[in-house]
Assembly symmetry: C2
Homo-oligomer: 557 residues x 2
Amino acid sequence: MDENKEQSKSALKKAEKAAKMASEKAAKQARKASQASLPAVGGKKTEDIIGITVSKADNFPQWYQEVVLKAEMVEYYQEISGFFVLRPLTMHIWSTIRKWFTNHIEEMGVEETSFPIFLSSKSLEKEKDHVEGFAPELAWVTKAGDKDLDIPVAIRPTSEAVMYPYYSKWIRSHRDLPLRLNQWNSVVRWEAKQTTPFLRTREFLWQEGHTAHLTEALAGKEVLEILELYAGIYEQLLAVPVVRGTKTENEKFAGGYYTTTVEGYIPSNGRGIQGATSHCLGQNFSKMFDITVEDPANKGSHIHVWQNSWGLSTRVIGVMVMVHGDDKGLVLPPRVAKVQTVIVPVGINKNTTPEARKKHEETVDEIRQSLKKAGVRCESDWREGYTPAWKFNDWELKGVPLRIEFGPKDAANGVVTFARRDTGKKGEIPMAEVATQVPELLETIQKDMYNKAEASFREHRLQITKWEEVLPALDSKNVVIIPFCLDCKCEDRIKELTTRAEDTSDVPENQKLPAMGMKSLCIPFDQPEGLVEGETDCLNPECKSKAQKWVMFGRSY
Amino acid sequence: MDENKEQSKSALKKAEKAAKMASEKAAKQARKASQASLPAVGGKKTEDIIGITVSKADNFPQWYQEVVLKAEMVEYYQEISGFFVLRPLTMHIWSTIRKWFTNHIEEMGVEETSFPIFLSSKSLEKEKDHVEGFAPELAWVTKAGDKDLDIPVAIRPTSEAVMYPYYSKWIRSHRDLPLRLNQWNSVVRWEAKQTTPFLRTREFLWQEGHTAHLTEALAGKEVLEILELYAGIYEQLLAVPVVRGTKTENEKFAGGYYTTTVEGYIPSNGRGIQGATSHCLGQNFSKMFDITVEDPANKGSHIHVWQNSWGLSTRVIGVMVMVHGDDKGLVLPPRVAKVQTVIVPVGINKNTTPEARKKHEETVDEIRQSLKKAGVRCESDWREGYTPAWKFNDWELKGVPLRIEFGPKDAANGVVTFARRDTGKKGEIPMAEVATQVPELLETIQKDMYNKAEASFREHRLQITKWEEVLPALDSKNVVIIPFCLDCKCEDRIKELTTRAEDTSDVPENQKLPAMGMKSLCIPFDQPEGLVEGETDCLNPECKSKAQKWVMFGRSY
């Protein structure tokens, strides 16, 4: 036992060192990239080059950085590192998600609220355990004007400690249950780690729902309803497939009872990514904050209420970019695209007579109006001084799902030419059918994008029953589903065993294999066949326990 | 001249002293009130008494405080003073405003954005003049976790200095104009003055629009379009009349070119209140931040862009409460009410058979469903353990515009009984016509509420041409419209001359007259007749200048 522990400790140290080296290197690269904006290519600053300068396959991190900047989704906030400006293209996606989610939770009876941005240091002391995890990332206001505050206040990293004192005040009887509040706001977590637009930023937008129920069953029902809405945001709006499941003890929300999650997958590097989480907090917080009601079934005795909290952040947008984007730039699912269709006039040049030009403008405008009437978000691009080819590239960079090319010849033939952003496929539509065929085509694009991403995730989710197949699977950009005992220490050990600790400083950069070990992503609700309780072993070769569940593991964000 | 100055100085000192005394007293009272929550009445804490304990006419400040608390609009944030929790009833109003305004500005071509919450101290130094006004109220983050930040960062009090460096980056050609961005967020201004829910709080929700245009004319057109939308929010949604106008030099936005405003009026104390402002910033900020484009009409020469900024905050909700509320509590205009109609079952008691009760429940639910179908936000109140009378009071306190009382007798007669919240008027509607008559009735209530408030404002906006009538007019809770020279010093002097400086410590509290002097509220766009340029004198008896405009003055928030 002790020897094992020592071995394990030494492996852990090695793994930690390797991980630290890798993360320091990544941080250094990122610092460099963010300070000089983007690296230089062929003597020209890449930020001055229109279009993406690297391929998604060759240099995924830089590809991502270029796409979110050049497609005008974000701007780095030069003044303070780790912060980003969210531009209209991004905010359109976020607003679409907000409307969709709000409609659904309103139907469930969830109400909107807005709590203050600050936490007092006093109330933080009250529930140390929960806050401990957030403490290193708290931003502290210590001065107002030129005066020091008597008691410093922290900006919320999440609002449990801000809100629950009022739940205690407002919930006086079981008739006040369920209490279901949601707020849309921004939170600040002053990350020390390298930041990445959308995925890890020091401030981010999110919604946080906080609810209280009479029974565990009622709380549990809501946890799953919300999780299904989160899955809907990914699958129906962002065309991104997710796996629904429960987090292991190691990965659940600190202070909660259990955590459900939707997990995504990034094909380019084979990493899993947590999509959004819906937590049952159990009675842990209601005990800390003294939130009780008289038991309606047993007068005189009191029950601590059952609480949930659930949140979804702008991270979803980063996942969408990573899944769908290509070497030309962003690819937007039609349902969240600010501009769904762009009409680029072609065949108009200096030889075109003013009358012919005017007539063509009118025809383009008729098409645009008829598309608008049909509910399509549509623009026409009459910018002067740019060739059609330049405009095609520009709209492709920005991910517009459908381009219509339309010249006087097309007008004469009574057709428009289209090009799909997702596949590049071109075709023709009779002008009279534009208003019916374009909306259908957009829906087809939406579905095709989802199906493509879904197939990719399905193919790279390998069910594995031999330990020696795990690392090769990870190196081939898969996540794995393995029989697992659910023990926390065994999970730590699996991470160590899959971490490459050897020194690879001699290996050329492009031949290096990732050092990162695998973490558990979730216990999928949808359990494969073939696991026999009490018989199947846990896959960790050092583990003597039997497997409890198929668990999805992977390298992850 | 010098003597006049001395006199003026001495009067100013007296006025300042009186104002200071008055404001300190008010602050003391408020501190007391907010610490002990609410004062005691008849040995019982007023917060434990259901319903409002003072009349609006007798004690307006306490009435207001009780209404916003007891109607469950806000909760005082005990942890940090000057902050408030906005509860669902409030957030419904704010969301309604947000949707309405968003739809309108989207049509205008304004796009949504989200800039970081922090300002670096560096960028603050850049435009000292503008920031000077905000400096005493800035909240400074100096620590993250347990580490001191190298450079402290301030939470935005408004976002000019956060955003405009990026306008300089993004606007490269006149083709990038207009650039029109809006964001919904919260800002922090650490007020030293006494805070009041909605009207003055250390954090508040608002929208801030920031736009850039090629010419003064284009910027000016937008300023008025936005102002008209702000007027629409007051008049069409909140049923609150406003006067549109321009601010005087004294009252315009610091650093701007000119400020337009919608001004409201609180009948209970006769004070004016600034409703929302739409500023033309001119070229002041574009010069500071170097935002230029090449002049399309004159190649080679550069123009500084013309900028606007415009904002509307949750303050609007406080104005609405003050204007419409009565001694029973809140009165909500139907268009912004979360619950527009409540059905309270009556005539159901312990003698009612379970079958009869069930049948009645079903009928009530049919009515509720048919109202919901007709687009009415409707609830039925089946809470047990409360009498119908208690429920009536509760819904009246919360301002629900229309109550339907419905018992088995009504069901037998095929009618419902209604009671209007605004007038108390009762009536009957045939059950078959509920779905058509209730929506009409709600619109009638909306219009009647506006008309009543509009008449009150109109009656208390006195056009005055004799100086000696000014103070009596103010004391009778009017605002005044007077011929005015528009000179800044004259405006200061008018404030002094209308401030009561005498010591009134012997006068019984309820016989005291307000000390507060009057400020200019706006130069109304709608100018009355009777002012002859170059002939009519400025109303200030000490002023030797001629009047330029009719200007609205008043005691104000």
